[in-house]
């Protein structure tokens, strides 16, 4: 029995030999393949969950402004305080070259960018 045309032949049972175990096996295989398995259908409310995820980013980005702005401000203050505690105010006063000031500013910027990136990843991962 050639599989290439078995599908067509199975549609017209009269053309097939009766009591042929191989044909019967093919018929059962085709019957099995054309029936969906239980539990493979979409669950209830699936479409709403998808559109819910689509509508989520705009809402979350609005909600995100408040904690994000507050968080950045708090981190800015904390990083300045931490810097002061680590190096002492007198030493800070000694760091008066333009290069050192720029390096400090760069460090703070990188730190804040990192924090912002993490917050963005957490809150805006569905965008």
């Amino acid at each position: 029995m050639n599989d290439d045309n078995i599908h067509e032949k199975l549609q017209q049972p009269a053309q097939l030999p009766e009591n042929d175990p191989e044909v019967d096996a093919y018929r059962e295989v085709f019957d099995f393949l054309s029936r969906p398995e239980d539990g493979h259908e979409a669950p209830a409310g699936f479409a709403h969950r998808v559109t819910g995820r689509l509508e989520q980013p705009s809402n979350s980005s609005v909600r995100l402004w408040i904690p994000l702005t507050a968080g950045i401000f708090a981190l800015l203050v904390l990083s300045l305080l931490g810097f002061g505690l680590l190096f002492g105010w007198q030493q800070v006063a000694l760091i008066n070259t333009m290069t050192n000031r720029l390096l400090i500013m760069l460090g703070i910027t990188l730190f804040l960018s990192g924090v912002y990136y993490l917050l963005q990843k957490k809150y805006l991962r569905n965008t």
């Binding site: 599989d3 290439d4 078995i6 175990p21 191989e22 019967d24 096996a25 093919y26 059962e28 295989v29 085709f30 099995f32 393949l33 054309s34 029936r35 969906p36 398995e37 539990g39 493979h40 259908e41 979409a42 669950p43 699936f46 479409a47 709403h48 969950r49 998808v50 559109t51 995820r53 689509l54 509508e55």
Partner: protein
Amino acid sequence: MTDDQQLVQKTLAGDMQAYRWLIKKHERLVFHMSSRMVPNPLEREELCQDIFLKVYEKLDTFQGESKLSTWIATIAYRMGINTLKKKKTELVDLDTISFKAESEMRSDAPIQAEDTHKLLARSFNRLPPVYRTVVTLFHLEQQSYEEISEITGMPVGTVKSYLFRARNLLKDILFSYKKEGAI
């Protein structure tokens, strides 16, 4: 203008209810395809959600050259394959898996008590995911060889070959069990 085109245009205009209708119309196809690649129900639903998010994102690129179902199935197939690749799942090696499946089943004592459907289901689930998907698209979703070729990116000849090998293997397993009187 077809229903699908109307739904696409309404969705692109921002009508979420239209998109929900579009999802409901095609969720069966996507779930059937995904179930052949991701057996875990939770992972499967997450994959299906991601597929429809991607469909929404790319909907403005749908030109209407093929059926919407074929276009969605193409996205579903690619995303399913990517998921399997991340898990390092064997996609197409039928020889190794079929041999393993048959030998494993023969060593399972309870197989004699199982009916034909369970035997076929177990054998089918041990086929490589690409074979299962091609068979599902053809038999369950009534897609043509050409449509399956478009969805999977495989030549029509390869699609036919996959169908033949998968069906033949299932038939051989069932035939041999019947011959031995195990069922």
